[in-house]
């Protein structure tokens, strides 16, 4: 089944977070002390490419633009509030009222919002 664009964006942000983590020397050192092998780190680029290729190019460009402003361009929406800027989403927002897989941007900070059950 084709993955929704929102879920692809969420997956992309998770991968970018993982990439940042494995580029941090101190974190990698901790992982190695714990006994984890991170011998194929370069594969993260393939994984990111795989996801970006499935994204709508316009949406991906917007994601990149938001990334320049914020470290994490996606923010959870909880109780109708964007947890990126803590401003309420409009009451008519589809993300608030029903659908979970719709792309909506926070009116205040511009982040892409997602909902966790």
């Amino acid at each position: 089944m084709k993955e929704s664009q929102l879920r692809l964006l969420m997956f992309l942000q998770d991968l970018l977070c993982l990439k940042k983590e494995i580029q941090d020397f101190q974190v990698v050192e901790k992982y190695e002390e714990m006994g984890f092998a991170l011998d194929k780190k370069e594969r993260i680029e393939e994984a990111i490419k795989e996801v970006t290729e499935q994204l709508d190019p316009v949406l991906y460009q917007r994601f990149l633009r938001i990334s320049k402003k914020y470290d994490r361009p996606l923010a959870p929406l909880k109780n109708g509030v964007c947890y990126g800027c803590f401003v309420s989403a409009p009451t008519g927002s589809k993300l608030v009222t029903q659908a979970k897989d719709v792309i909506e941007f926070c009116n205040y900070c511009g982040r892409i919002m997602y909902r966790i059950s």
């Binding site: 879920r7 969420m10 997956f11 942000q13 998770d14 991968l15 977070c17 993982l18 983590e21 494995i22 974190v27 901790k30 002390e33 714990m34 006994g35 984890f36 092998a37 991170l38 011998d39 194929k40 780190k41 594969r43 993260i44 994984a47 994490r72 996606l74 959870p76 909880k78 979970k100 997602y114 966790i116 059950s117």
Partner: protein
């Protein structure tokens, strides 16, 4: 945070049925209270993490872990497989004991790495594998983790 605070009856299984790496991951994810879509995304993320290097740390232990947007707090699960499953562990031996650790990218308390460290340390406790092997019920596991 103590490990005992993280485990409960619902996230411990002493009888994993799966017989390959992917199915073990799915079975562990199934122990977490998540929606189907979230489970699918988490599985994909754990697979990508495994692709960078196996989380099988040897001596029968594996600690699959990742950060993911699909969870809003630290989630853990423990599973035991009687015979052991090939998990591409660093020592090449099958893994029998699995700790799944999943956290959101941002946690105020930042427990992810410390908990991961504690679990890794727990797995290095002398004779812990034989103790885990002998466990008869989930309560015994909870008692064992209480003492850790």
């Amino acid at each position: 945070m103590d490990l005992k605070e993280l485990f409960d009856h619902y996230n411990v299984s002493l009888d994993l049925k799966a017989n390959n790496k992917d199915d073990i991951l799915l079975e562990l994810i199934g122990l977490l209270k998540l929606e189907e879509k979230a489970k699918e995304m988490l599985f994909k993320m754990l697979k990508k993490r495994e692709n960078l290097g196996s989380t099988g740390i040897g001596k029968g232990f594996a600690i699959p872990h990742c950060r993911s947007l699909v969870v809003d707090k630290l989630n853990v699960a423990f599973g035991r497989h009687r015979q052991g499953v090939d998990f591409n562990s660093i020592d090449g031996k099958p893994a029998q004991f699995f700790f799944l650790i999943v956290a959101p990218p941002i946690e105020i308390s930042n427990y992810y790495l410390p908990v991961l460290g504690k679990v890794a340390q727990f797995c290095k406790t002398p004779d812990i594998d034989s103790k885990l092997q002998k466990l008869g019920k989930v309560e015994d596991f909870l008692e064992l983790i209480n003492k850790a």
